[in-house]
């Protein structure tokens, strides 16, 4: 339990700084520090057990199906790292309190820091690779926030993005690697995985898994060729650099190498990948560090170099290498954190980190200078300080290693690396704290408050103590941590200053002397280096990302260019090609159905249809003509429905068609009357080809269907058989609509209702904004006849309206037994009203219609809905219908069906929707000009010679 608590504490604690900042900066820092301290205490409480060789575990099921569980384990390795993270973290918190200025939002800083700390602790304590991955990515994210903390600096933003991109890349690779590892072992538990080393190394998946995981480790630990992000992350505030780049984040990669060492190490592949990368990076980074004029830049590359050293040691795949690696982790964490902090102090006090502008500070800030010097000497590998010990061990191992059968290469390279290391370490001392003091500082620098120098000073204590008494101070820790890495018995080894006068010592001394000499000839060395091109990582990275983004933008925008033509062409082509491939990919037999003979009149009508289709394409630019042709097609389709035994369809089709045409005419009034010729000939040819293929496909498909009988009896036999006895109607289509499949119809009228609402909302909106301006300045694009409401039509509609309504009622009532029904009746009534609107105009008719069409729609849907709900009262499912025969005197026997009530709903919705749509559309025209006369007809002979009286 408390293992989880150690991990969770920083996360939970992350809530505190944001709150405590209200109580002041000290309270904020104190709260943050307490959280870390508490976690550290909890960790240290396990020290006895860990040093006794126990492995402490905690386990909760989280996502067992995936093998992702909340499992933690604490062994020597985990203890070491967790201790470093929390311990150095504590010092950093203290240091940061004094480092951050009043302008910096401190609460946010500590929140990010704690989040990061929690993620790091999670990484090192996880016993599940998937859980580890989660924490791993969290370190990337939280470090992104920390590095970008100073958002106003472009370097901060770029550095943060670069760090996120590189470590994100590694993280994703590692996901794949870890999953592969899990596939091999059958478990994602680390404690399981590290037991299966041989099995893993024999698996064909070993190489890909290893490479992917190493990608994760190397990016995180900034190994070549991913070293470039780390220096740019130095734009972060120094406490962040000190924390992330000495003790924690960059060590995560190293940690993972150590953690998975039993599972992955020991093969040639491992050696060549890991050791080589480490060795190369070590030398290269040290060389670069030598010439960095930015204090933090120097430290950054020295970090890369030292991490590479550890990488190299682990890469050897030998227990001794592992021991040395672990030992160096401890040593490096202590002196490097101290160095970063002193660099921060120098920056803080002098206002610059540029080595060229610094010098002679020892006299001004002796405490800082002493701490820095000790730490730097340790980094250089000067005896009696802890850095010396591990450098010796490294050189020893290197000298004993062949590379691809070539002896000495490794040793030489290691020695050169050590030499460079000495040189830049001395430079940190010599060029900053000694030498010529610059002419003037803005304000004379002096040692900072104790809160700022105590943390590095504390870190120097182990540097010296371990340097003097390695076995006593660091021995147990190294032993228990190395034991955890190696996963077995450790070879004999001695942590001691003096191992006798041997090749290693010679190499070490040569490195020291050579390093000092190189610093002496620094200017010449620099000139030598200037001769080579030095690609600037940041610029390259930014330009790579920018060009990727630009390319992505070009490609995306070129693809998604907002062209409806493209969308349509692709969609139709997809359907055609997909359909064709599917058709050809499956078995197809010719049908055996006997066809219906084609009467000459049918052939004629067909010819008209084909002609109309061709004409439609040929004349589509003349929009009014287009509508006329569509009218022709509509008539033919309706006639076809009648001919082919579908009277209901014919009725519906023809009435819908006319309403649609009227709708289009209303819209066309405002639209251009001609479609410009815009497509090039090839494009038209392409469109024609797509269209022809689509036609062929759809026609072919229906032809195939028409020529076969149902292989399996269709469900509509049931509908035919039960229409009268079960549904109470003889028009089976209508019974299907209002009863068998009444729910479809319910949805359908809702579609109509919504359409009306949407149209209303759209047109209502059009009466505001730019649309209304355009409407008001709209000039008819054709000459207009003078009489708006011709007399003959007005008179005719006066007669036709009541008759049409009667016909509507008739069609409505008979629908259940004969072609007709609520929908068609609704259309007929709507058409009747439309005639009235067309004859006498919107204004006149609108004033006489007492019905609110909106309400009609609402009532229609409700009527249909409540008819359905009514069945619930009878304990039946929604829309269950009932009918009965009622006999009344005089009237006789007639049928009453609930389906009729449902049909009333349909009727009301249809009338309401059509009228809302059309009435609103015509309302639009009213904004264009002076209002139209409110008289029913323009030419009214009754008004001759006498003042007309107000009508209606």
């Amino acid at each position: 339990m408390d293992l989880a608590l150690i991990v969770m504490l920083p996360f939970l604690g992350a809530l505190l700084p944001g709150l405590m900042i209200r109580a002041g900066r000290d309270a904020c820092a104190l709260a943050t520090g307490s959280v870390t301290l508490l976690a550290l205490i909890l960790l240290l409480a396990h020290a006895p057990a860990v040093f006794a060789g126990e492995v402490i575990q905690a386990r909760w099921e989280w996502l067992p199906a995936l093998g992702l569980n909340v499992t933690f384990f604490l062994d020597g390795l985990g203890f070491l790292f967790a201790g470093l993270i929390l311990g150095i973290g504590l010092l950093i918190i203290c240091y940061a309190r004094y480092y951050l200025s009043r302008k910096d939002p401190m609460g946010r800083f500590y929140v990010f820091l704690l989040l990061f700390q929690g993620a790091m602790v999670g990484v090192v304590l996880s016993d599940n690779v998937l859980l580890l991955l989660i924490f791993w990515e969290l370190t990337s994210l939280s470090s992104f926030l920390l590095i970008g903390y100073w958002k106003h600096l472009p370097e901060g933003r770029q550095g943060a993005r670069m760090a996120l991109a590189v470590t994100g890349l590694g993280g994703l690779a590692m996901i794949a690697g870890m999953l592969l590892l899990g596939q091999i072992v059958g478990s994602y538990d680390i404690s399981e995985i590290i037991k299966h080393g041989p099995e893993i190394q024999d698996s064909p998946l070993y190489a890909p898994a290893l490479i992917l995981i190493l990608l994760g480790c190397f990016t995180k630990s900034a190994q070549f060729p991913f070293h470039f992000w780390l220096p740019h992350a130095m734009a972060a505030p120094t406490p962040v650099s000190a924390y992330l780049h000495s003790a924690t984040m960059v060590k995560a990669g190293i940690f993972l190498l150590a953690r998975l060492w039993p599972a992955l190490a020991g093969t040639d592949l491992w050696f060549y990948l890991v050791a080589t990368t480490g060795l190369f990076t070590m030398v290269m980074a040290a060389w670069i560090a030598l010439f960095k004029d930015d204090l933090k830049g120097l430290l950054a590359f020295s970090t890369v170099s030292h991490l590479a050293l550890v990488t190299f040691l682990f890469g050897l795949g030998t227990p001794m290498g592992a021991i040395a690696g672990i030992f160096h982790i401890i040593n490096h964490a202590s002196f490097k954190a101290a160095l970063f902090m002193t660099a921060g102090i120098v920056d803080h006090e002098t206002g610059t980190r540029d080595i060229k502008k610094l010098g002679g500070l020892m006299g001004l800030m002796p405490i800082t200078g002493t701490i820095a010097s000790l730490a730097a000497l340790s980094m250089a590998g000067v005896p009696l300080l802890n850095g010396f010990l591990t450098k010796e061990m490294m050189l020893h191992e290197a000298l004993a290693t062949d590379w691809a059968g070539i002896p000495g290469v490794v040793g030489l390279a290691a020695a050169v690396g050590a030499l460079f290391s000495v040189s830049y370490s001395f430079r940190y001392i010599a060029h900053v704290f000694f030498g010529k003091r610059p002419e003037k500082f803005d304000h004379p620098p002096h040692d900072p408050p104790a809160g700022m120098y105590l943390p590095p000073a504390l870190l120097i204590v182990p540097v010296v103590l371990i340097g003097l008494f390695p076995a006593a101070v660091a021995g147990p820790m190294v032993a228990v941590a190395s034991g955890a890495v190696v996963g077995g018995p450790l070879p004999d080894y001695y942590l001691a200053i003096w191992h006798g006068f041997n090749l290693t010592l010679v190499a070490s001394l040569v490195a020291l002397a050579g390093g000092a000499f190189l610093l002496y000839r620094h200017a010449q060395a620099k000139a030598f280096r200037e001769k080579f091109p030095r690609p600037e990582a940041k610029r390259i990275f930014e330009s790579v990302v920018e060009s990727c983004a630009t390319l992505a933008n070009r490609v995306t925008d070129a693809l998604h260019d907002g062209s409806l033509r493209r969308i349509m062409a692709v969609t139709v082509s997809t359907a055609v090609i997909g359909g064709a491939l599917a058709f050809m990919g499956a078995e197809h037999g010719a049908g055996a159905r006997e066809g219906v003979p084609a009467a000459p009149i049918a052939v004629l009508t067909w010819a008209v249809l084909i002609g109309a289709c061709i004409a439609l394409v040929a004349f589509h630019r003349n929009r009014l003509l287009t509508l006329v042709i569509v009218g022709v097609v509509g008539v033919i389709v309706s006639l076809g429905f009648v001919y082919l035994s579908a009277p209901d369809l014919a009725l519906t089709q023809i009435s819908v068609e006319v309403v649609t045409v009227i709708l289009l005419l209303l819209a066309l009034n405002f639209l251009p009357k001609e479609t410009p010729r815009e497509s090039s000939s090839p494009r038209r040819a392409r469109d024609g080809a797509i269209a022809a293929l689509a036609g062929l496909g759809v026609g072919g498909l229906i032809f195939a269907i028409l020529n076969r009988d149902f292989a399996i009896p269709t469900i509509s036999d049931f509908h035919l058989a039960n229409s009268k006895p079960g549904g109470g109607g003889t028009n089976v289509v209508n019974v299907i609509l209002v009863d068998f499949r009444g729910f479809d119809t319910f949805g359908e009228i809702i579609v109509l209702g919504i359409a009306a609402l949407a149209i209303y909302a759209l047109l209502d909106g059009a009466l505001k904004g730019p649309a209304v301006k355009r409407l008001q300045s709209w000039v008819p694009d054709q000459e207009r006849a003078r009489d708006r409401h011709p007399m003959m039509l007005v008179v005719a509609t006066r007669v036709m309206l009541p008759l049409s309504l009667l016909v509507g009622v008739y069609i409505f009532l008979r629908g259940h037994n004969d072609p007709g029904g609520g929908f068609i009746a609704g259309l007929v009534v709507a058409i009747a009203f439309l005639m009235q609107y067309m004859a006498s105009g919107y204004g006149w008719a609108e004033r006489r219609v007492k019905i609110d069409y909106h309400l009609m729609i609402g009532w229609g849907v409700l009527a249909a809905g409540f008819t359905g709900v009514g069945a619930w009262i009878a304990g039946r499912p929604f829309l269950t219908s009932d009918f009965t025969y009622v006999t009344l005197p005089v009237v006789g026997t007639f049928e009453i069906a609930t389906a009729l009530a449902f049909d009333v709903g349909v009727f009301l919705t249809v009338v309401g929707s059509v009228m809302v749509a059309l009435a609103n559309l015509s309302r639009l025209a009213r904004t264009t000009e002076a209002p139209v006369s409110d008289a029913p007809m323009d030419v009214d002979p009754t008004r001759r010679g006498r003042p007309a009286e107000e009508e209606g």
Binding site: V608, V635, P647, L651, I654, S655, R788, M838, Y842, A925
Partner: protein, 89 residues
């Protein structure tokens, strides 16, 4: 006898349809085409009625009535559009 008469009727109205189609295709004005379409609808109704007689069913009556109504309405709409642009004003 009626059979033969019906066939002749079919034939006549079919020819009429073709003639309408000729006018529809030729135009020249949109009003010509509207007139042709209107005539087509009426001829179509005639064919429908003949077909009802041929099949001995009255089931096509509503369709005919509706065709008449709709044909009228759409002709008026087209013409009103030609005359005024705005068909409901």
């Amino acid at each position: 006898m009626i059979e033969i008469a019906l066939l002749i009727g079919f034939f006549c109205f079919a020819i009429a349809l073709i003639l309408n189609l000729y006018r529809l295709a030729k135009g020249p004005s949109i009003a010509d085409r509207v007139l042709a379409l209107d005539t087509m609808v009426i001829n179509g109704i005639a064919i429908l009625i003949l077909y009802g007689m041929y099949e001995g069913t009255a089931v096509y009556f509503e369709a005919s009535l509706l065709f008449a109504m709709v044909g009228f309405l759409s002709t008026v709409a087209y013409c009103k559009f030609i005359l005024r642009g705005d068909i409901i004003e």
